[in-house]
Symmetry: D2
Subunit: 341 residues, 4 copies
């Protein structure tokens, strides 16, 4: 039997709780403790999920010698501080996206990770989705030739609430960042230019916050290909997640997945299932797979499937998109120096 | 926290091992012991699957007071004997299909189950498939009106080997029995007549055993509807599992599910994924769900989702199909007396 | 320029009028005259469709030396008489299905056709549908290996009225006959046994006429394969026309065609077009193609794409299906003697 | 019977010949004459297509009092001259796209059309495609609410040859112009800003001509919505023509249409038909429908379905796209003054 990996969860919000459930399904991983600033309100949840120890102070987890790795699921503005401390405590790190709202802070945190020789994986869960992985494989194998065009559709089923959006860092760093990572992942080429159009078409309140909820983003890649991402905070029919790559030998497209294949035909309509409602359903398998691969990277001492640099580059694209939107012009991203973490 | 249900697994062949894996994924269920006549060869498997106790004698499980329920996954010809003993030992019973090769033996075993007041669920896993459950719901809700026609396609990706087939009880009781149960489940009406055509078209060796590998079976239901099942032991493109119901207000059809939604278009072809290869992939969720519902039926003292009578009736249809094939004529199934277990 | 072929239309009911429209679209074909017993009521229709001559007596067409070919679209009980006279008048013959209600009468009419050396094509329009032709080609090319199973679904959108049904010759000869022809066409093998189940589930009035409106028909082919046809007079979602062939190397399936590919996703439903409403829409291209091939067969002196024997054999299967339904047993069709027309 | 409309065809290249075939299929339209500078080489074609009169001088058609309308299918650089003369000769005009390479010339020609009170329809055939018309209807009916995003994919199966491209006016005015018109048609809102990225990825020869073959074009609409078009001169799998609109109440998407619905499943692959090869197949019905509607606009004295202004506006967007590509920046299109023709 493989030795069990002992983990601690920092932050028991929506995504932290999701990771807890998934780790429970993996026989060779164990949750020793959870920290959350609202720990006192989480006693029932902890009990019903077989969590033996819950604390308000994440440092309790960093001090626990049994814990091999921590999952940082706390608010983004706490990430880099925790990363630095966790690295120093020699804990491996799974960090939710984005690492931070500032590329400089991200760099500093990643330097600490490097210094202490721990593993860090960023929570770009979509890389582990079987549909998109197949697209990646097809492109990598050259089955569609040299890629010319990439199209990503990513639309949430319903807008986050205004309070969430206020501290989200903005549309591109909060939402489109997944697509920026997907673009780099699929194309295996860096983004060199971004042009972003956006508006608050779903909810005018977002405009009052200086934010948007709908966007069309054009990307140029170092390899000469072009890409386009379309985003919306509100697709009333469900979570719309599609990727298409077009190249010299053909195209590969991943459509939405749906709960069932059932088609009903009546006098009025022929209907099929709506897409999965949101990310917990759509990326159910991907959330387990990213944890399994994180554990494997640690156990085999390999690079993680989604490195600190991956997190950093996606943040740079998000920042360029913000600038482009503000300027009304395309923005260039330099890749002169290779940043190694 | 719900009290854990303690189980024992009788028979660690292909299906027994599958149940072991699935029970491991359910937090409120536990496997205490496994029995298999080849226990001595299964030490490594047991160790790697966290099985603490493995024995060659299933009676060790029946004698263990900790065990609440047993999963009977041994060869069909041992089922009724074990059912009777397990019932007497007050163990709840999950029994793989078919219960036996003889309706009379099945009745006798079910009488023991009834006498001792234990729960019994038959392993008709397809009832728990989300696609087919949705069909069932649509039909039950009257969304397609009164059903007139039922169509089931059920084709294996590759034939079982000749040794397996020799002791399988024959094509209808081994393979079509799943479809007979699906027919009763979806239509909520008993089958009153069966006409079966069949031949050994895939492998002539099956004909030498007096068996077939391809069939078209016409069913008539008590409610006046008609149905047709087509079966093959070898669909080279994968496990072909479809259900369609047609009624006065429309139709509902479940297509095959596939690993991904990816579609690749090249100069030669537009292609998509083949169906899932076989039952472990296709019915992955269903195998977990059937165990969850079995546990729930015990905990809430409700009838199981797939009762002994369901097993008995499907066996009667299988036997009628065999007679029909032999006679070259339709065979009637009487439902004059309600058998209550 | 190819010489124009001059035609006369006998019977201007629904199907006769459809042929008139289609012949008008073919530059190298011309309609010289139309006959119909209700000619006096059809003056306006004739004028608006550029028909110069309309008569109550089909013999006027047979006597016209300009006319090369006649389309027999009158009621079925008039077909064989007209065929015999047309053959004697040396007119080529396109005859709607079925040729007659009696295999003996059909044989006699076909003998006249043969004696006078004219061409005869039966109006099994579905042979000319691009979807089913592709299935035929795939099977012929051996792309799916040796066929084992054939499945045909053929459901009308709404029942014919009771008056029509009264003189239709019965469900099998009126409706299923298209499927019997499709079965022979696709499988390239004769049907040797038929087992038909049927009932009046849509409209009890049909039962009063001794007829049915819903059927499941099992076929056995001379090559050992099996087939099943399901029919209904009323699919409320439209004309349901599907064919699937399954063999040693795979399967080929033609789904329904629909007016557009548009898919609409809303908060309530994901919907697509219903199938085409009925045969004029579904088989729009096929109706033109069958006429083009009829003309070509005449001009190049080749066998027609759907011969008198094809009509005769389909009628034999229909009659066997009627017998099977009446007897409640499978009925054998002998193919000892090859009938050559 | 409706009076026949008499037409003359100016230019018998690929598209002129296509219109000839389609007009032949319309009973109430007639072709009296065809002009082409290579008339002497077209005698055989004319004979085989029942063209009675063919001339090298289009003015022969303008002088013929029988001719009601002309189809201008000559090279683009001849369009405005012919339009002016045809308008003066009181002929109704069907003009292929684009009207000209210069918005100023286009305006001048349209002024002549207006002055002489003749009808003009531009050959944006895709407006008449049943799939895209359904999208238009759904959007117009408000079924998907307020539109936020428009996505158009338009990829040719194979690049035009270099000689053609040299005189084509450039990628945007030659190819993307169809998509610019589709954008205005579907959204019923003018384009106010264009940002175009493009490159010669398929064939470097195009770069030598200062042209491109692949593009991603972002559009902003007067109503606040955003759109994106992706174009390629070479989709090796066939003509890729898709439109999707996303709004507050849902989305509507038209997929590619394919010759048949047949799906073949083998041990290697599950495959379906490639999209139709190119525009003659894909827009077969649309080409007939645009002519029918042109004739109807004349006969009922209504505005054509695709006016001179529609042609002019699409050309303005194409020009803006060219400027954007050259500048590397978005370009604004003013709509302060309404140009009425």
């Amino acid at each position: 039997m493989t030795k069990q990996m002992v983990t601690g969860i920092i932050g028991a919000g929506r995504i932290g709780k999701l990771h807890v459930q998934n780790i429970h399904r993996i026989p060779h991983m164990k949750i020793k403790a959870v920290s959350d600033i609202s720990a006192s309100c989480l006693q029932d949840w902890a009990a019903s999920h077989h969590i033996e120890y819950i604390t308000a102070d994440y440092r309790d987890l960093l001090l626990d010698p049994d814990i091999d790795a921590v999952f940082i699921c706390s608010p983004t503005n706490t990430h880099t501080q925790i990363i630095r401390e966790a690295a120093e405590a020699k804990k491996h790190i799974f960090c939710e996206k984005p690492i931070s709202f500032s590329p400089d802070e991200t760099k500093e945190a990643l330097a600490a990770v490097r210094k202490h020789g721990v593993k860090l994986q960023v929570g770009f869960n979509r890389r582990f989705d079987p549909h998109f992985r197949k697209i990646k494989t097809i492109v990598s194998n050259g089955e569609i030739g040299t890629p010319h065009l990439l199209k990503i559709t990513s639309r949430d089923p319903e807008p986050a609430n205004v309070d969430y959006v206020r501290t989200s860092g903005g549309f591109f760093i909060d939402m489109s960042i997944h697509d920026f990572d997907m673009a780099r992942y699929i194309m295996a080429s860096e983004v060199t230019e971004v042009y972003a159009k956006g508006a608050a078409l779903v909810n005018p309140s977002f405009a009052e916050l200086g934010d948007i909820d709908t966007a069309v983003i054009t990307l140029t890649f170092a390899n000469g290909a072009m890409g386009v991402i379309d985003n919306s905070r509100q697709a009333v029919y469900g979570y719309d997640q599609r990727v298409e790559v077009f190249g010299t030998k053909g195209s590969a497209a991943a459509d939405n997945s749906r709960p069932t294949t059932v088609e009903v035909s009546t006098a009025d309509v022929v209907m099929k299932d709506k897409p999965h409602f949101f990310f917990p359903e759509r990326y159910k398998e991907a959330y387990v797979e990213e944890i399994l691969q994180f554990a494997e990277a640690i156990q085999t001492n390999r690079e993680t499937a989604c490195t600190g640099d991956d997190g950093f580059q996606a943040e740079r694209i998000a920042r360029a998109a913000q600038q482009s939107l503000a300027l009304g012009m395309p923005v260039t991203i330099e890749h002169t120096e290779k940043i190694v973490f």
